[in-house]
Amino acid sequence: MSTVTQKKINTAQAINLALHDAMAFDSSVVVLGEDIADAQGGGVFKCTAGLSEKFGTGRVKSTPISEQAIAGAAVGGALAGLRPVAEIMLMNFMTVAMDQIVNHAAKLRFMTGGQTHVPLVIRTTTGAGFGTGGQHADYLEAWFAHTAGIKVVAPSTPADAYGLLLSCIFDDDPCIFIENLPLYFVPGEAPEPGVRVPIGKAKVVQEGSDITLVSYSRTLHDVIAVAKKLAKEGVSAEVIDLRTIAPLDMETVTASARKTGRVVVAHEAQVDFGVGAEIAARLHKELFGTLKAPVARVGAARSPVPFSKPLETEFVPTQSRILAAIRETLN
């Protein structure tokens, strides 16, 4: 998605902009979540600031601390023709709302034989780095990607956050929209107003010929940094930002892997049974016998998220671990 303007905004602002534009564009778009209305500060991360003042507290509702009720109200509202955007403050809190998301939102279209559908978005954020410890920073995208009927999106830039959120809001099926806490505050290229980024399309962030680096969300930025280092050594890396986890854009990933013959997948979620496993399994099959090295996977340490700073710093897929995996894959 190219853009003309040079203005920079951060992801929190981009999300806010997308919500404003979507609500102005379509009166069926409604927003709910804890502390999201302006009287409560417009969201703890300010992503929903100004919405209730502009669109009223009927369409923009702060809720009690009741994630099952939040998700359920979103499901019911969607069944009744609304396009609810529910904020589940942090991804770990989705663990109390899994029933509504997995047993209901994901399935009702099918279980009703197509009589109904559930066009809702659940926005949530996560990610290590701010010392929030073991219960506030998990990446659980693989759970939802494993569930038929749900789309999973995880942008890494403000512009993609804007364009993908619009696409999710106007998609006719449930979407899990995964934001990253540290990225909220990182400025980037501003989006083009109203321009939607398609769900299910990865983005080649940087073209290259020696190796393919696949990532998404915050980790993508570390991958880009590592790619820059490699460039200085004369290694040409192609960097792909998945942007959508489900459905996976294997066309883009496979095309790149076919070209480079070497692939490293990096994400902040656990490696085992994670998104990297699905990508590796598919590349192994689709490019059988043609890859020059096995697909490498880099992820978080095999532990809960630790509090202590030095541990938290090493917990995530660090640039040095990403680099090590690349070097191993190159040899």
């Binding site: 809720t63 109200a73 509202g77 069944l79 009744a80 279209r109 279980m111 034989g113 009589q115 789309k151």
Partner: protein, 328 residues
């Protein structure tokens, strides 16, 4: 909460028509299951017929009803068309859900039955969302959500009633208290003296009513529906009742004391209501027999329709997972 209204003769006869249809449907389904023509767990509502019958006559076609795996009484009361209804229980392509939902998940959006869940308590938060949409759009539609006594102990119940109270949603929470949650007697699983008491914790009206008394049930529903339509918010109704045929078909109710079961059977609300209607001069035995005969004929026609209907094509596995033409 005004309970001054009273159901008239026509309303009472309509309640009987619906309740007797439910009993006939239940009897017939059990025959079909025993004949191996429905392969699924089946949760009989036998004994609870008067509750949805007395509620539904207070509802409009555009009001919505959310129910559970034990839901054919609620669905029939809301007016689901018999042919696609029976076909759904038979898993046929002509079913309301093309056979994909089945007995635990019969829905029919056109009849105001958008969600039937098999997860205890899950319907309550969803009902709030349906009511929120009505509130936003300024229609005066209401949503009735049915659940059991056992469901009142799960977290979703609590979160949903509290949210509905705080948002003043047009929802009627109907707890059909049949005294047992699967095999667990009310008091062994529930700390509250009555489910209605729990309304205090949400600052909303909590009404305990004899769900086996059509008139009392009608009055409670009438008042709650009026309150919801007027935008005054939700009501929790505890309708006391009993289930005669166990938790699911095949359950021998070993956990129910013989004396309790005997007393309940002796007080079967349906024949009692029938006798009362005659005794009060609202109808003659013959007139009610005609109602039953008409029900039976219509229902049997639906059964034959269902049995003659094809099963869905295997390609249906790929359909309705997500919107047409979009990769799953």
């Amino acid at each position: 909460m005004s309970e001054t209204n009273n159901p008239g003769k026509q309303v009472l006869l309509e309640i009987y028509r619906i309740a007797s249809l439910i009993k006939q449907a239940d009897d017939r389904f059990i025959e079909l299951i025993k004949a191996g023509q429905i392969a699924s767990p089946y949760y009989s509502p036998r004994g609870q017929e008067l509750i949805p019958a007395a509620i539904s006559v207070n509802l409009r076609a555009d009001d919505t009803v959310v129910t559970t795996y034990r839901g054919i009484h609620d669905q029939l009361a809301k007016g689901i068309p018999l042919k696609p209804f029976v076909a759904e229980l038979l898993g046929r392509a002509t079913g309301t859900c093309k056979g994909k939902g089945g007995p635990m998940h019969v829905t029919h959006v056109a009849s105001g039955l958008p969600v039937t869940t098999g997860i205890v308590g899950a319907g309550l938060p969803i009902a709030n969302g349906l009511a929120w949409a009505a509130q936003l759009e300024g229609t005066d539609q209401v949503t009735v959500v049915n659940f059991g006594d056992g469901a009142s102990n799960i977290g979703a119940f609590h979160e949903a009633l509290n949210l509905a109270a705080v948002w003043k949603l047009p929802v009627i929470f109907v707890c059909q208290n049949n005294g047992y949650a699967e095999h667990t007697r009310y008091d062994l699983g529930t700390g509250a003296a009555t489910i209605a008491d729990r309304a205090i914790g949400y600052g909303i009206p909590g009404v305990e009513v004899d769900g086996n008394d059509a008139v009392a049930m009608w009055k409670a529903a009438n008042a709650a529906v009026a309150r919801a339509r007027a935008g005054e918010g939700p009501t929790l109704i505890e309708a006391n009742t009993f289930r005669f045929r166990g938790h699911l078909l095949g359950d021998d109710s070993h956990y129910i004391p013989k004396s309790e079961m005997a007393a309940a059977v002796a007080a079967d609300p349906l024949p009692r209501f029938r006798a009362w209607l005659i005794e009060q001069g609202f109808a003659t035995d013959g007139q009610l027999a005609d109602v039953e005969a008409t029900n039976a004929a219509a229902f049997e026609e639906a059964v034959q329709f269902g049995l003659a209907s094809p099963y869905p094509d295997i390609s249906e596995l790929e359909r309705d997972v997500v919107a047409e033409g979009v990769p799953a």
